[in-house]
Every structure is written in C-alpha cells, then in structure tokens.
Amino acid sequence: MTTGLWIHWFLPGILITLELTVCGAALAAVIAFIAGVGRSARHPLVRFAAGLYVEVFRGTSALVLMFWLFFVVPLAFHVQLLPMWAAVLALGLSYGAYGAEVVRGAIAAVPAGQREAAIALSFTPAQQLRRVILPQALPEMIPSFTNLLIELLKGTALVSAVSVADVSFAAQLARLATGESLQIYAIVLLIYFVLAFAITRGMRVLELRTKASVGQLSTMEIAR
C-alpha cells in the first residue's frame, strides 16, 4: 500500500463512506419517521400506503436496488441520477423500511395513558406526536437505530459495486494495482471496525441524552 494510493483513493474513500453513511442515515431517518408514523396512523389508506412501502423495501435486496437505480432508471426513465444521490437513495429506501418498523414499535410502546392524557389536554394529533409521543418513543428507538446505523455503514460498501469511489472501491483498485489482497482487505476491515465502534459510542451518548431529557435515566446511568 503506497502513500499515493492512500492520498488519492483511500482517504477520499473514507470521506465518501462517511458521507454516504450520514446522508443515507438522514434520508432513512426521515423516511422511517414518516412511514413509522404512517403505519400507526388511524386513516386506513395511510396505514396501507406506509405498510406497502415497508413490505416492498424490506423485501428488496439493497444491492439489486442499487444496480436498478444505476442502470435501469437512466435507460427506462431517461433520467440520470448523480451517483452519490442514487447510492444515498438506495441506502435510505432500504434502511428506512427497517427504521419504520422500529419507529412503529417504539410508538406502540409508549404507555397508552400518555396519549389519553394528551387528548384530554386538547393537544392536536400533530402536537400529541411532537410533544408527547415521540420524545418518549425516542430513547426506545435508539438501540435498534444503532444497530441499523451499523448495518447502513456496512451497506455503504455495496456502492463499490456500482463504481462509487468509497473505501471498498479503493480496496478493489489497490488490489488491481498492487496484487496484495490480504494487506489491503485487512486494513479496510479495520477501517470499518473503527467507524462502527465510533458510531456505537456516539449513539450511546445520544441515548443517554434523550433519556435524560424525558427523565428515563436509570440510577446506574445517572451514577455514570
């Protein structure tokens, strides 16, 4: 592994991986909330539409979706997506569907009394959601979201199959350039491991913060 490969391909590749993870997570979070809330809605059509999205995209393979967005959309719809956009879209749609289930489960786990109290206090449905339900559901979602975020990080490696220059792609290039497969792939595994570790730590901090803001910290967590 030479310096040139690091400077021109691996370091930019790590940035691209991070960018994909962050943007993919943002899109997935937005979709997850919309679909998760939609699945818990009272209107049957909304529930059905959200349910359809979740079932279809939980059933798709992320890699096939990526190939589809990269090769079929330009040919069939005569619209070209910028590679990063297509990648983020594929990741966001795939993981958003899983996130929707997490959101739905967490909303369902909020005690019924909370919703009833909010209705009694004349909160509009939007206010109920924003002020009462979601803040309490949020700490519940974070452990599952952490797992999904790690899955998303691992999923970004798929973009190397459609030639987006992330760190896995840099590994492929380096393999062709130097022929040293073991060293290269071992380094790349380590890079992903470090990123995953950082994400887990960061999400733990987030979990403690959100719990604190709704008074759900356990005594052990307060003590720490």
């Binding site: 690091w6 021109h8 330009p74 619209v79 070209q80 997506l81 220059a165 350039a177």
Partner: protein, 287 residues
C-alpha cells in the same frame, strides 16, 4: 407551517439538482465538447486493465488510452482529466448513463458495440494471448486448441475474446466469466480453469505484475471470426449523437499518428510499431 414549506422547497430543489434528463441522440452532432471546455474537466471511464487504462501502484491515473486522451483533450481545450474506474462490462452502460464522458480503456471496436456507442478511429491493434499454467501442459495456442482439448476457459466480463472463442466453437455457457484479468490469472494459478483469454498485452502485463512461477503467457496469436482474421483494434467510445466531439477527437488522433507522437506516448506501455494501425472505426463497425 413556514418551516415545513421551506423544507418542501429545499427537498424539491435537492431532488431537481440530483437528477437530470438524459439528452437523446441529437441531430446536430451534440455539444459535448463545448460543455467539456466550459467545465474544464473530462471524465474518462477505465477498467483497471494494465496497460490500457488503470490506476497504478502510486494511485496515479495512467495507461495507453488515458495518456493519449490527456494529450488530445489538452489540445481540444479541456485541461484536466478525471478517472472513473469501473468494471469492463459496465463501461458502455456507464457511458450511456452519463457516469463519465469517454470510454478510454482501449476497448475493441466491434459491430455489436458500434450499435451502442460511437467510436473514434482505433489507436492500436492487437492480437490475443492466453494465461496458461507453467509449461502450457495442454499446449493451448489458440481457440481451436481449446475446442480440441475441451479445456476449461475463462475470460473477462464483456471481453471480445468471449465472442472469438464462441466463433471458434467453444460453448458460451462453459466460459467462466471473471471480473478482471487478475482474477483470471489467479483462477489459472489455482487450477480452477485451464486458460484465461485476453489481449496479448493484458496477459503479458498481468503475468509480469504477478511474477508467479506457476503461470505463463502464451505467444500472441490472431483470432478468427467467420473465417477472416478478427482484428482487435482498440479505440475511444463516445455517446451516440456526440459526433462533433468524436470528429474533433479523430482529427487530433490522426495528427498524433502522422507526427509519430502516438508511438512515443504509448511506447512505454509495451506498444510497438506492430501495434500501430491505420484502420478506421467505420470499417471495423461493419459486420
């Protein structure tokens, strides 16, 4: 409410900038050259194949086709080139999907490909060669030998060599398709296949790079197609409709050939006078 309005506006703008319509083939020859001059950078699709277009050990972008392209595009007024490495089989769809502007991977001009893209005139011609186990135990020297011995063959995705083998009588479904020439060499080394077919320089370069004592490159031979020699001549591919860009490129390419500068540029990649060609894309596109 104001917040959600501006959010929607931003979202729509974001979506609008993220996708754009693909222009169909235009009758006026296209204006890609003007656009490239305005942007100042041309994206070259390559397939990581030494010596045609690849990223070298130091991460630098080089190869026979990229080096020619660098010179020509500089003369056409586009200062910088940017590599877009991809798989060989994804070069044509990637070009058509506008993932890059030119295929500069030394791609052979074949009638099938001519239906998908337009080619510049070729800048080299080459014969095929095989990667075989050391000592060439099955004595494989061309595709007829593969048919005769029933050897297990591999080649790269969308390589022209697959078509040459099929024309010689090899069963298409029996050909193992591998992602690149290094995978091919490893397959021969490990005994998964008996032979990997590629262009002669591809084969020689990967064998030399690997430095393995278990495999060797056979001498170059001329493949046949329909009873006639199948000339493997590599050129640059452009999107259909961009004939203005292709013609400007051809003018500069012919100038390089006339002045002898072409051979100087590609000499260091192993190309010699034998690989120089005066063929045109038009001849090669004819079935």
């Amino acid at each position: 409410m104001k917040a959600s309005c501006s959010f929607t506006v931003v979202a729509i703008m974001a979506i609008a900038t993220g996708c754009y319509p693909i222009s169909g083939a235009s009758a006026d020859g296209g204006n890609q050259l003007e656009r490239l001059r305005a942007e100042g950078v041309v994206r070259l699709g390559i397939a990581g194949e030494i010596p045609f277009g690849y990223i070298d050990r130091d991460g630098a972008f080089t190869g026979e086709a990229p080096e020619i392209a660098k010179v020509i595009f500089r003369r056409l007024g586009v200062a910088k080139v940017q590599p877009v490495p991809t798989e060989f089989g994804s070069l044509i769809p990637g070009l058509r999907a506008q993932q890059f502007d030119v295929v500069s991977a030394g791609m052979y001009v074949t009638p099938t490909r001519c239906a998908q893209v337009i080619f510049s005139d070729p800048d080299y011609q080459m014969r095929d060669a095989f990667i075989v186990p050391e000592g060439n135990p099955k004595q494989l020297h061309d595709y007829a030998d593969i048919v005769r011995t029933g050897a297990r063959m591999a080649s790269g995705t969308a390589y022209a060599q697959i078509d040459y083998a099929v024309a010689a009588g090899v069963d298409r479904d029996s050909i193992r398709v591998l992602p690149d020439q290094l995978a091919g060499l490893l397959a021969v080394e490990q005994g998964r296949v008996d032979v990997f077919a590629g262009t002669s320089l591809t084969v020689q370069n990967v064998v030399r790079q690997r430095g393995s004592s278990l495999v060797e490159a056979t001498p170059a031979f001329q493949p046949m197609l329909g009873g006639k020699p199948a000339i493997g001549a590599g050129a640059f591919a452009f999107r259909p409709g961009e004939t203005n860009l292709r013609d400007a490129f051809n003018r500069e390419l012919h100038e390089l050939k006339r002045s002898g500068e072409l051979l100087q540029i590609v000499g260091r990649f192993g190309f010699t006078e034998a690989e120089m060609t005066a063929l045109t894309a038009q001849e090669l596109c004819r079935p």
